[in-house]
């Protein structure tokens, strides 16, 4: 990372430069690239799935495959108890699993950043109250809280998304608050204040851009845990039983006795899919962290 190159550039160019610099640094991290490749592959599959998977393959009253059959011609990963192709179910399941993971992360980041930013900026009673609320949420055991939340909100994708967001925003909030405190202690904030910048301007224009890289790193890691949480909650029966997700596949397989039947083709694919996607996000997250965090350079 050579900081001298962008000195004479025009106002909007440093950002462009920073981005390409980031990309170049990221490209030097093979693990990060591998993770990105996995995610792109799954993302593309999820997006194009409706082109070749439809009601005929997913609706139990229309499929006619053999029941709980090991891999055979036409069913590369075998079938489930209703006679649906497990391969197609896994691909279709990625849509809901990924979207719940991403939306829950977006909610988490927005909620957590807002609370962290406000708590870091207004250090008086507002900050204290916000941090006490955060501490209170941290002290609550997450899994039982998520279970009770989705039980109260009624089952389905929306309530699981909310339950994940509500239980996981606290880490982002603490992280952002700490960084906000550090940024606000710097001289340029003082200068902005002297020049008459209001609270909103300081938070949005000065602090937020400096906190952003941290939020980015934290969110890539949050996606991974959100996807795992989604699978956990759906596996525990809090999802919509008629929708196909990785968690619900595992639940159906587990409760249906696939373990005793030795139906590995039913249990393994959704589990491995979760593993791959979570791994992908974690690899990307670590790589981004390394690139953006100057203290980690060279490690």
């Amino acid at each position: 990372m050579s900081a001298a190159t962008n000195a004479p550039a025009a106002l909007d160019v440093p950002r462009h430069h920073a981005f390409s610099r980031f990309c170049r640094a990221f490209a030097k991290r093979p693990a990060g690239l591998a993770g990105l490749g996995l995610l792109v592959a799954f993302g593309v599959l999820a997006l194009v799935a409706p082109l070749f998977i439809g009601d005929d393959q997913l609706n139990v009253i229309k499929v006619d495959g053999p029941q709980l059959s090991p891999p055979v011609d036409g069913y590369p990963l075998g079938t489930d108890q209703a006679g649906r192709s497990v391969l197609l179910l896994v691909i279709w399941g990625s849509r809901e699993s990924l979207s719940i993971g991403l939306i829950a992360t977006a909610l988490t980041v927005v909620l957590g950043s807002a609370v962290g930013l406000l708590a870091g900026h207004y250090q008086g009673w507002i900050g204290k109250i916000l941090m006490h609320v955060t501490d209170w949420f941290i002290a609550l055991p997450s899994l039982p809280l998520a279970i009770s939340l989705s039980a109260v909100l009624g089952q389905g994708a929306a309530s699981i998304t909310i339950a994940i967001a509500v239980t996981s925003w606290t880490a982002t909030a603490r992280l952002v608050r700490a960084q906000t405190l550090a940024v606000e202690a710097r001289p340029f904030i003082e200068r902005a204040k002297v020049l008459g910048a209001g609270n909103t301007q300081i938070m949005i224009r000065h602090v937020l851009p400096n906190v952003m890289p941290l939020i980015l790193v934290s969110s890539t890691l949050t996606v991974a845990s959100a996807i795992l949480s989604e699978a956990t909650l759906t596996f525990l029966g809090l999802g919509d039983p008629t929708s196909v997700t990785w968690g619900s596949m595992l639940q159906a397989a587990f409760l249906g006795g696939a373990v005793t039947a030795g139906a590995w083709w039913y249990l393994m694919p959704p589990g491995i899919a979760i593993l791959i996607v979570v791994l992908g996000f974690t690899l990307v997250g670590r790589a981004v962290e390394h690139v953006l965090n100057p203290r980690m350079v060279g490690r």
Partner: protein
């Protein structure tokens, strides 16, 4: 909860203590299960090791218990007036004979002489009279079984060997009121008399529990096990084992793993996938029992109280018989049997299950509701249910679209499977289903308030159908204040109620069966309780450690009669002569490990991920 009835899904309530239980289940599958069982099996004395009912035991107080697991324990440790034979007919137990007066109002039971409770106190007719009187007169004592004795005028014990029961109206099923497992257990008066005041709080957990039966309860740990010693002097025969352990398993797969590795002898109730996988195992005997229950759909067609006040939020269009019949036409019961139960079930029609052939009713040829989506669409079109732009029909009377809630049990795989099919079929006739997964308690609470449209439900019954028929009578509707109802679907029909009274006072079996058949015909035509199937009950036994636990002979299709396993099965089981100790892991073992590993990754990973969020500290 009634004459030979139990709401089997009520029992499964405990099984959905979600996260912990599933983890525990996986851990059990992997680790040494049944440690309690194997410890005692090592000694010279023999121990029968069985899986406790999935529900577990809610309380050891027989006046308050509702769970199947508790009924199993009571059948082992408390006596009843009558026993039931293989065909479900009452036989002798405490009473060795019984007579009824000419006016059919007085029953006289001759109680055996010389029986002693497990602490040595004589067991007399006075114990039985005291127990039955307490349940008749005390509201708390009647919590679990009060409805069985509501028609009792008085119960007296003129001497130690005579019990006289007087009923208000003639009652045909008095000999079913106190039977093992599904009837009223008789408790020792000298122990319970001092507890009658505070019955609600009495846990009955002083071991060994004073009782009389094939077994004596010596130890019980909630969520773990119940241990029994055999009663060598038991009047109906000496148990074949010296001890019995009922081991609690949170997951049937874990129990199957224990069975395969020789740590368990008998599992009552596995699912079809497990059953078929275990059929290949030479050291196991897999049997199918004729189903003693039904699984079906209930429709909230007219939720109201006894006085006719409308309650709840049911969809108004369900009051229309045409819509209900269309739903019945759009249900392919044969496919449900084939796909959801893997063929191991009987297509449902009549309200009472095939386990008790005397009550079985089938629609006359030509009166069966076929699977016919076109016909369903046609009758809905004719009745004015026009399709909206989104393909969902609209109720012409209320103007509401036909979007119905379907409540299913969160812990029941059959429910989840069926709901997928129903959703598909009903979509093709323009009815949209919204599936709501609910715990048993949430479901029951919604049911009582009438806050539902459609529900998946299931009941099992003993040989006397009175209770199961009774939950469809007008008298089962709730009062205006919402209490005292045990209705199953708010069904209320005058003709049905008259037949209900008639069958209860009909002492001739054939005539009573005819009346019961007419009642089932009324239910069938109303389409309010739509029977999907009667699932065969599936059991697995280790043949190298136990014989005789299965009662009766299979019929031509290989189906065994409904097993009274908790009473006769455990009593008549004996150790297998050629005992093979080394039990091999079958091929399923590796898949078990892999499956367990995948589950652990997801569960633990999810737990850690959630935990991680909460444990994060300030990082700069």
């Amino acid at each position: 909860m009634g004459t030979g009835n139990s709401r089997h899904k009520l029992a499964a309530l405990a099984a959905c203590a979600l996260s912990g239980s599933l983890l525990a289940g996986t851990a059990l599958a992997a680790g040494p299960a049944a440690s309690a069982a194997s410890a005692s099996a090592a000694s010279q004395e023999t121990t029968l090791r069985v899986k406790m009912s999935g529900s577990g035991v809610d309380t050891l107080n027989p006046f308050l218990a509702f769970f199947d697991g508790a009924y199993d324990v009571f059948a082992a440790i408390y006596p009843t007036l009558n026993s039931l034979d293989e065909t479900g007919k009452p036989g002798p137990y405490l009473a060795d004979s019984w007579t009824q007066s000419d006016d059919k109002l007085t029953w006289t039971f001759k109680i055996r002489d010389g029986l002693k409770w497990s602490d040595g106190t004589p067991l007399t007719a006075e114990d039985a009279a005291w127990t039955l009187n307490l349940i008749t007169t005390d509201a708390v004592a009647g919590t679990a079984n009060g409805s069985l004795v509501s028609n009792f005028e008085s119960v007296t014990a003129p001497d130690a060997t005579t019990l006289v029961i007087k009923t208000k109206e003639p009652q045909a099923n008095v000999t079913y009121v106190s039977v093992p497992r599904s009837g009223i257990p008789i408790v020792p008066k000298h122990i319970w008399e001092s507890q009658a005041e505070h019955l609600k709080d009495y846990k009955n957990d002083t071991f060994p529990v004073v009782g009389y039966g094939p077994w004596t309860l010596t130890d019980y740990k909630p969520e773990q096990y119940a241990k029994f010693d055999a009663n060598k002097d038991f009047i109906l025969g000496k148990p074949g084992f010296d001890h019995m352990v009922q081991q609690s398993f949170k997951s049937v797969d874990a129990a199957v793993a224990a069975l395969r590795s020789g740590q368990l002898d008998y599992i009552n109730g596995v699912n079809p996938t497990q059953f078929k996988a275990l059929q290949a195992d030479k050291s196991l005997l897999t049997i199918q029992e004729v189903g003693n229950g039904w699984t079906g759909l209930e429709i909230n067609y007219n939720a109201r109280t006894r006085t006719g006040k409308k309650i709840g939020t049911g969809h108004p269009a369900l009051g229309d018989p045409v819509l209900r019949h269309a739903i019945a036409l759009a249900t392919d019961r044969q496919t449900l049997v084939n796909k959801v139960r893997d063929g191991l079930a009987v297509v449902g029609a009549g309200y009472l299950p095939p386990a008790w052939p005397q009550w079985v009713w089938k629609p006359a040829p030509g009166e069966e509701t076929p699977f016919d989506l076109d016909q369903a669409n046609k009758i809905l079109d004719d009745a004015g249910y026009t399709k909206g732009g989104d393909g969902v029909r609209v109720d012409p009377k209320s103007g509401k679209p036909l979007e119905l809630r379907l409540g299913i049990h969160s812990d029941d795989t059959d429910d989840a499977g069926i709901s997928n099919y129903l959703k598909g079929w009903l979509e093709t006739i323009g009815v949209k289903l919204k599936i709501q997964t609910l715990s048993m308690s949430a479901l029951n609470s919604d049911l009582a308030k009438g806050d539902w449209d459609l529900l998946m439900d299931g009941w099992t019954t003993g040989p006397d159908p009175t209770f199961l028929l009774g939950i469809q009578t007008c008298a089962a509707l709730p009062k205006d204040d919402g209490t005292a109802g045990n209705t199953d679907s708010f069904f209320c029909d005058k003709d049905y109620d008259e037949l209900f009274k008639k069958q209860l006072t009909t002492f001739d079996l054939d005539e009573r069966a005819k009346t019961v058949g007419e009642m089932q015909s009324i239910l069938y035509k109303a389409d309010v309780n739509q029977m999907h199937f009667n699932a065969n009950h599936l059991d697995v036994v280790r043949t190298d450690t136990v014989t005789g636990v299965i009662i009766g002979q299979p019929d031509a299709q290989g189906m065994y009669p409904a097993q009274s396993y908790a009473f006769w099965g455990y009593l008549k089981a004996t150790p297998a002569t050629a005992k093979v100790t080394a039990a091999k892991e079958e091929s399923g073992g590796s898949a078990l490990w892999i499956g367990g590993a995948v589950l652990l990754v997801v569960l633990v990973g999810g737990g850690i991920a959630l935990k991680r969020r909460s444990g994060a500290d300030d990082r700069e």
